[in-house]
């Protein structure tokens, strides 16, 4: 009935016509050129190696086709909507339409012709990519990916967009209107819909995860195929509709009736596919809600400690078969409740060999104590179960929006997975609940579920002979494919990886460092030949450095880096800082560390080579540096900052926590502080302990962002209490860590202020050492603090947790002098500080000493916020509400600067840096430390002074808004909506922007306006409220801190002073100006007439408007 001959005929000449069109040729040429450049840049030595693409062979065709697809999806619209118009315009339609062919043959032929052109282009691109892939050093080729991505990305996209274009053109018969509609649709999918609605509108497959792992293949192939089928079916449906709408008399009237039916059928399939796609996600959400609901019902209803847990696991093609033997202590609970993944079907439970009745509801196993034949506290339960893993149980605490958010790297998306159980690979972490755990895993109605069993585990694994099993503890192989793991210590959790792994290891100082990489993934040995023998030393040195930095010990005899599929996703949690990629004794690194720049050893070595000559580095030095940089990823708490470029070209930067930071090995897997009253306490202690790993990055990053994350946290704490913020789902998850960390610092600084940093550090270390590998109650900690330091934490806790008011600190000028003290010349630092609010508060001051080792009184080391390296000396200052304290510190050596950290307070910036210039000698000063109450509060101005700051109502900026709407849209400068903007040295704003810096003048908020210099049409004005006529000295405040890094720029500030005798134009040289108040002259002012004006006319790059001061003579 359908003539293939006719289809191919139409296709052939449609194809030929398109191939010969210049529009297509230019597009194809540009696409090839762009991708040629991309591949050169990414895969060859000529460009900057892109490890995210190079590491994963399938990512090479994937990214290439994504780029091509984005372009071809748009171009196809232009070419396809020409479908009818071209024939009509050239008047060839009639001589074609009167030929003996069906409408179906004609439309299908046209489609095949169009499709053929683009498929040919895709194939050319893939061939080019494959050539680059083959010649690139150390990069494997995944041939199947070339075909699969063509089928998954390009074909459905093209069929859909061709069908839609044909259909709209047939329906509207207006090419311009069709263009507008289609381009509008495309723009909406690219710029707005993106991954929204679970990628439903992502017809180009630009967002939907199509990542293909070398270890496990696609993360969720049925979902991917389902999604792509939606667009394939819609495309075919539209093509069938086009047949029905073709303005040509049907050759066969029966066929004419068939095409609408086929169209409806395909579109219905598409709709069904879409429905299935959405409902799969919604169903999962509903299922998760049910799990949470069930957890809520039973949270805190049981108290069972699992003392010992022996697990026998058989890894089969269909899943896992497990026998779990537990020695339990049931603390008087009437019901024993365990969590086990709902897809693991329990077949039998026995207690000391006797069958036990149990109730299984979703993921919970419930056993009534009354059903146990031996109702004693000590129970020996054995649970037999088998099945696979339902990943919807994982991360119940993570909001669906975040859980379903795009998991991307570079430009491609990765399908997130939380566990794997396949015939060739398995990865099981506690999040998958692959073994029974006591109680429930999460509840959103109470926090009684939070507990940490430290259990004596033993694991037996039987798997395929060719596969290796990796878990915690001493590993012994019983026979091929059979392994036993016996952790030396009690652990809070157990994980298991099974796969075609290969181990590389070195041993040093009784610690075995292993790298478990997948077969064929040893891309590094051949690159690190020079450090092969010293790698153990490098690793152990780094570990010991880290131990010293943390003042904590690594307690396991082994540490492994285990390669896992890139799809494995983990999240930061509210109650613990480490993610599931960190497990006791090991860290999971995604395939070849594809998301870690430092795992690109080849690229890093090449980069090092560029600097090797000038730095006189040997090959070994370079390799050591590269290895050290890689290892540093496990000892740094912040990842590389995430720079984003705003629409106005301004850079914004996010502080990103480093998920590979291995702090948990030193604390979380060894200690757990439990409190039913203050459930967040363990996390707070953890944050406090972690804060010893100081990142200087945050100091300069706030310049980009305008506010540091701590300051953003402070702004939130001004509105809500800690308790409210923890319970509020709207709290920015990026800030919550800072809130917890700040609150931790405040809590422990309270003790520190009373006993000193050194004693506190030693006390905490001792306390944690005494309570290793077990859960300890916070009340025990409180009691010991009370007994040892006479600090009553209990009375402070309620305020600390529930109070939303914050203190505010006013610091006086800091006086530094030198004087003799015993046998040395001491440096004396004196200042006063007032808490202007009626709620107590704590501030920390850190003195940067530097200049090498040497003693110093009050030297702090270890935990506790802000800089705490050995070259810094820390002090905590506790102030009651509305209290003023006079403080004097004495140092043996010269402090270079004082950094005030006001922690949770109304002060912005929260870190104020006060560098010390030349310190004069004054023998009258007595070198004696004190910290005492003063009756005289700190004031920042004298009685005869009037200061107007930019935060005051007497200040205003004048600027004409001259931007066009288009410019405003394109050059939008402030899109984060926060009050304070970052200080952009390179591209100052064209309108006055409010920014903060510790060098600016301010009482609580040290802010100023700044602007790009211009022609003087934008001004800042200070209307000084003079109450009394007379002569006044006029001063202008110049804070130089924000420009210190680029020297002392030349240029002037144009100021005009309106006084009783007229207007005085003043020019203040920025270069020569003092850092602080600068005298402009004396003028006579009558009440309410004083006006000081600053113009933006200057040779400086930017102008800062801060504060003016009038001093009555």
């Amino acid at each position: 009935m359908i003539s293939l001959h006719n289809i191919l005929t139409v296709a052939k000449y449609e194809n030929r016509t398109l191939f010969r069109s210049w529009f297509f040729r230019i597009f194809a040429g540009l696409a090839l050129l762009a991708l040629f450049g991309f591949n050169i840049g990414v895969l060859t030595d000529l460009g900057e190696s892109l490890w995210q693409v190079k590491a994963i062979p399938s990512a090479i065709p994937y990214t290439n086709l994504l780029i091509l697809n984005l372009a071809q999806a748009i171009i196809a619209v232009f070419l396809a909507s020409d479908f009818l118009k071209r024939d009509k315009k050239l008047d060839t339609t009639e001589v074609i339409y009167m030929r003996p062919m069906t409408n179906t043959e004609y439309v299908v032929g046209k489609t095949v012709g169009n499709l053929g052109v683009f498929v040919a282009l895709n194939i050319i691109v893939l061939v080019m990519t494959a050539i680059f892939n083959l010649i690139a050093d150390g990069v494997a080729v995944d041939w199947s990916a070339y075909i699969i991505y063509l089928l998954l990305i390009s074909i459905p996209t093209l069929i859909f967009i061709l069908g839609l274009s044909f259909f709209l053109m047939s329906l509207l018969r207006n090419q311009a209107l069709t263009f507008i509609l289609l381009l509008g649709y495309i723009a909406a999918t690219i710029f707005y819909l993106q991954h929204k609605f679970y990628y439903l509108f992502d017809y180009m497959a630009y967002n939907i995860p199509l990542f293909k792992s070398e270890m496990v293949g696609f993360g969720n192939l049925p979902v991917i195929v389902g999604h792509r089928s939606i667009y394939l079916f819609f495309g075919l449906g539209f093509i069938a509709l086009t047949i029905a709408l073709l303005p040509r008399l049907a050759q066969n009237s029966r066929l004419k009736q068939v095409s609408p039916i086929i169209a409806i059928m395909f579109i219905a399939l598409g709709v069904m596919g879409g429905y299935k796609h959405i409902s799969r996600i919604l169903d999962e959400g509903a299922k998760r809600d049910q799990y949470i609901e069930l957890n809520n019902k039973y949270a805190g209803k049981t108290s069972v400690d699992i003392l010992e847990h022996e697990i026998h696991l058989i890894h089969k093609n269909t899943g896992i078969e497990v026998t779990s033997g537990m020695l339990l202590r049931a603390n008087g609970s009437e019901q024993l409740i365990f969590t086990l993944n709902p897809k693991l079907v329990v077949s039998k439970i026995t207690n000391k060999g006797k069958d036990v009745k149990f109730n299984r509801e979703k993921h919970l196993i419930r056993i009534d104590r009354s059903d146990l034949s031996t109702p004693k506290d000590s129970l020996q339960l054995e649970i037999k179960y088998q099945g696979t893993i339902d990943e919807s149980l994982c991360y119940l605490d993570i909001e669906d929006e975040l859980r379903n958010s795009r998991f991307s790297n570079f430009m491609y998306s990765v399908d997130p997975r939380y566990a794997f159980v396949t015939p060739g690979y398995a990865l099981l972490t506690p999040e998958a609940s692959w073994y029974p755990t006591a109680g429930v895993t999460f509840s959103d109605t109470n926090t009684r579920w939070l507990k940490n069993d430290f259990t004596k585990f033993k694991l037996h694994v039987k798997t395929d002979d060719r596969l290796q099993a990796i878990s915690q503890g001493k590993r012994s192989s019983v026979s091929e494919g059979e392994y036993t793991f016996e952790p030396e210590k009690e652990l809070p959790q157990l994980s298991l990886a099974i796969g075609a792994y290969q181990e590389m290891f070195v041993e040093k100082d009784s610690i075995k460092f292993s790298i478990w990489h997948y077969e064929g993934h040893d891309y590094f040995s051949s690159l690190l030949t020079e450090v092969k023998d010293t790698i153990a030393d490098l690793a152990i040195d780094r570990l010991r450095d880290f131990e010293r930095q943390l003042n904590m010990e690594y307690s396991y005899p082994r540490f492994s880096i285990v390669e896992v599929p890139a799809q494995f996703r983990s999240f930061a949690r509210l109650w613990k800082s480490h993610q599931e990629i960190t497990q006791p004794e090991m860290v999971f690194l995604p395939e070849k560390g594809y998301n870690l720049r430092d795992a690109d050893f080849e690229g890093r070595l090449k980069r090092a080579e560029r600097y090797a000559k000038e730095r006189q580095m040997s090959e070994k030095d370079m390799q050591e540096q590269v290895v050290n940089n890689f290892v540093r990823n496990f000892t740094t708490n912040e990842a590389r900052p995430n720079f984003r470029r705003g629409r106005g070209g301004n850079y914004e930067v996010d502080e990103v926590l480093n998920p590979y930071f291995q702090f948990a090995q030193f604390y979380n897997f060894k200690n757990y502080m439990h409190s039913d009253d203050w459930p967040i306490i363990n996390r707070v202690l953890e944050a406090y302990l972690q804060s010893s790993v100081f990142s200087p990055r945050s100091m300069w990053m706030r310049n980009f962002s305008g506010l540091s994350e701590d300051e953003k946290a402070n702004l939130l704490l001004q509105e809500k209490s800690f308790a409210e913020l923890l319970g509020d789902k709207e709290t920015d998850s990026k800030i919550i860590d800072n809130i917890i960390s700040l609150k931790g610092k405040v809590l422990f600084s309270l003790i520190e202020a009373k006993v000193g940093a050194e004693d506190l550090v030693e006390f905490i270390k001792d306390f944690l050492d005494r309570n290793r590998f077990c859960q300890v109650e916070f009340s025990d900690f409180e009691k010991e603090v009370k007994d040892k330091f006479d600090v009553d934490l209990d009375s402070f806790m309620n305020l600390w947790f529930n109070e939303s008011r914050l203190p505010a600190f006013l610091f006086s000028e800091i006086e530094t002098t030198k004087t003799d003290k015993e046998d040395y010349e001491a440096t004396v630092v004196r200042f006063k500080v007032t808490n202007t609010e009626d709620v107590s508060g704590i501030a920390k001051v850190t003195f940067r000493v530097g200049g090498g080792p040497g003693g110093g009184r009050g030297r702090g080391r270890g935990f506790g916020g802000g800089p705490s390296t050995e070259d810094n000396i820390e002090k905590a200052i506790y102030l009651e509400g509305n209290e003023t304290r006079e403080i004097c510190y004495v140092f043996e050596e010269n402090p270079r600067a004082m950094v005030v950290n006001t922690m949770t307070s109304k002060n912005i910036p929260s870190l104020i840096v006060r560098p010390f210039a030349k310190i004069e000698r004054d023998d009258k000063i007595v070198a004696e430390e004190y910290d005492r109450i003063s009756d005289e509060a700190v004031t920042l101005h004298e009685k005869n002074e009037i200061i107007v700051d930019n935060e005051d109502p007497e200040f205003r900026v004048i600027q004409e808004e001259t931007k066009s709407l288009l410019k405003e849209w394109l050059l939008k400068e402030d899109e984060n909506g926060q009050k304070y903007a970052g200080f952009n040295q390179w591209r100052p704003p064209s309108n006055w922007k409010l920014t903060t810096n510790s060098s600016f003048y301010g009482t609580l908020v040290r802010s100023a306006y700044y602007i790009k210099s211009g022609d003087g049409n934008k001004k800042a004005q200070w209307h000084v409220p003079v109450k009394e006529s007379g002569y006044y000295d006029v001063f202008y405040y110049v804070g130089k801190g924000q420009s210190r890094w680029r020297g002392n720029p030349k240029g002037e500030l144009q100021l005009s002073i309106n006084h009783d005798d007229g207007t005085e134009e003043q020019t203040l040289s920025y270069e020569k100006a003092e850092d602080g108040w600068n005298h402009l002259g004396s003028f006579y002012f009558s009440p309410d007439t004083a006006l000081i004006e600053l113009s933006n006319k200057s040779e400086l790059r930017s102008i800062v408007a801060d504060a003016v001061k009038l001093v009555k003579q």
Binding site: Y13, T17, R86, E94, V95, M98, R99, M101, R248
Partner: protein, 297 residues
């Protein structure tokens, strides 16, 4: 091929009749379709080539119902629309190959030979690799007829084929059609150039306002005009009067003023003589007298 048109009507949405109760039989050979603009010629052509469905009526071709046997009828058709052009990016031979394939020539060897032969016949073999935008107007028209003739269709319908062609090309075109008509094919030639029909068609029909005004041979039409065509010798002043009174066929300047050919039953005292009518005269006479097409000034 014998074509029988019965009670054919084509009514547009606005109620205008493009064709009204048309009954016509088209015999073998070349058949001319004459009529003024808007007479319904193009509508009839488009219906005949299955591009348009009539409002009512019936058409059979060798007994096959046009509306029920589109596939069979399309496979017998060749069609050259009035304003034929083709894809600029296709070569002459490629377009002809495209047409040949769609016309049902599946075997490439046979098709290639047919394409080459047809190109020879229409004098385009030398430019077989030339693209459309490089062809002259006459060449394009020849390519048009070539695509209509490829695979020996039984019915060839050509719409205004000689419009815009120079005399040489026009003669060449007429000869080509005559040659084809000799090969047992029916050719329907729709035109408003009367000379095309007089020189080639054995039978013709005249359409006006969607209705059949005349059908028969061109000679029959000419006969109707006998005695009604005059050649007048007129002064400048007379010329202006005559031009207002009668349909003027031709005017030639002469020593005494103008030599004018008009269609009229009588010339009311002007100096002139009756002459033998040709088809053009007959067409004008027919339109003037039978259908009162012209309005008196």
């Amino acid at each position: 091929m014998r074509i029988k048109i019965e009670n054919l009507n084509q009514v547009y949405k606005n109620g205008n009749h493009a064709l009204k109760d048309l009954n016509l039989e088209i015999p073998d050979g070349m058949f001319g379709l004459l009529g003024p603009n808007g007479a319904g010629k193009s509508s009839l052509m488009r219906i005949l080539v299955t591009l348009m469905k009539p409002s009512s009526g019936k058409i059979t071709m060798d007994g096959l119902d046009l509306f029920k046997n589109r596939k069979e009828i399309r496979s017998m058709l060749g069609y050259l629309p009035q304003d034929f052009r083709f894809f600029a990016s296709l070569k002459t031979s490629e377009f002809l190959d495209y047409a040949a394939r769609l016309a049902g020539m599946k075997r490439s060897k046979q098709r290639n030979e047919a394409v080459d032969k047809m190109l020879e016949e229409v004098g385009l073999f030398e430019v077989r690799d030339r693209k459309a935008n490089k062809l002259s107007g006459g060449m394009k028209r020849r390519l048009g007829i070539a695509q209509a003739l490829i695979n020996d269709p039984k019915l060839i319908i050509v719409d205004e084929p000689t419009t815009g062609l120079d005399p040489e090309e026009r003669i060449r075109f007429r000869n080509l059609l005559s040659t084809v008509s000799a090969k047992d094919a029916t050719i329907i030639l729709s035109t408003h150039i009367v000379g095309d029909i007089s020189s080639t068609c054995e039978n013709m029909a005249l359409l006006n306002q969607g209705q059949l005004a005349f059908t028969g041979s061109p000679e029959d039409l000419i006969k109707k005009a006998e005695g009604n065509v005059w050649q007048i010798k007129a002064t400048e002043k007379e010329y202006l009067e005559i031009n207002d009174k009668y349909p003027v066929i031709s005017t030639v300047p002469a020593d005494y003023g103008w030599e004018i050919q008009v269609v009229a039953e009588d010339i009311d005292g002007y100096y002139g003589e009756k002459i033998a009518p040709n088809l053009e005269h007959a067409y004008v006479h027919f339109m003037e007298n039978s259908l009162n097409q012209w309005t008196q000034g």
